[in-house]
Subunit: 168 residues, 2 copies
């Protein structure tokens, strides 16, 4: 997406979207989690135009989510595999999947996450590992972190005040 408006933003959501916030990147990552590695396989799986895929892949490599590695030298061929950072993106994709299943699958989910031990579908939830408590709007709120500057701090304060005032 556009460069000017997001660069330098402190918000981690904005920073994340800077790297994966276009229409295709997350779908490419989804396919990477499925084990797809090769250019033409991405093209086929996604129906994406090759020039666009080319751009996205180099962008994802530059962002550190994918690694471009040669799997054959004589006919020089490359494949794209997830880095640790890329693999760490899985929760976001799963959360998105769960949300999509809840709201945009009137006929029922076409794809689900299942527990391989029990073969049961997973019931996904975010929790705080420290307390084990599921995340709720009542108990958990967003606050300025350790290194937030004056402006960020003011924003968060303003927003939390709004939030409190807006409970109807």
């Amino acid at each position: 997406m556009n460069r000017k408006s997001l660069e330098g933003m402190q918000c981690p959501v904005a920073r994340s979207l800077e790297r994966v916030g276009d229409g295709w990147s997350m779908l490419i990552l989804r396919d990477a989690f499925y084990g797809i590695r090769r250019f033409d396989d991405f093209v086929q799986s996604l129906g994406i135009a090759p020039n666009i895929l080319s751009h996205r892949l180099t962008k994802l490599v530059a962002a550190g989510l994918l690694e471009r590695r040669a799997y054959s030298t004589r006919p020089a061929r490359h494949e794209y595999v997830l880095t640790d950072q890329g693999r760490d993106f899985r929760p976001v994709l799963l959360a998105l999947m769960a949300w999509g299943n809840r709201h945009f699958a009137p006929e029922g989910p076409s794809i689900v996450l299942t527990d391989t031990l029990t073969s049961e579908p997973v019931e996904l939830a975010l929790v705080d590992l420290r307390t084990g408590e599921p995340i709720t709007r009542g108990r958990h709120t967003i606050t300025a972190g350790a290194v937030a500057n004056e402006r960020t701090r003011a924003n968060v304060e303003f927003r939390n005040a709004r939030l409190a005032a807006d409970r109807h």
Copy 2:
């Protein structure tokens, strides 16, 4: 994002991205969670051009994530508030925030989720509510759901086979 390639896709991730997969929508939602409701406040907070915001808001309203409601009739004024479906998007945003904090905040996180009871920062994780187990790639895999058609089923099978073969 583009219409043709995603419409009719069964994958819940694709379906989700159809509604929020452009550069701005998730940031608008983020601000909505912060309590922002008014057009000009969104413009100011995001630095988004008003015409773009206008498009996004109507799209988000159409998708059922936001509700446009009048807060004043005599000078007709409207505000945009999260629907239940929109509020349910919070885990995605939080996962994205956590990921951003882990990888793109070298100076430390500027914004964190905290437990209001303990005032401690939250350590976010996805778990399976049925078993209480955190989600891992080893234990939990993606499978075709109940209503998956032939093609989806074949894709998932193919992909899982690849995945198994690719464990290096």
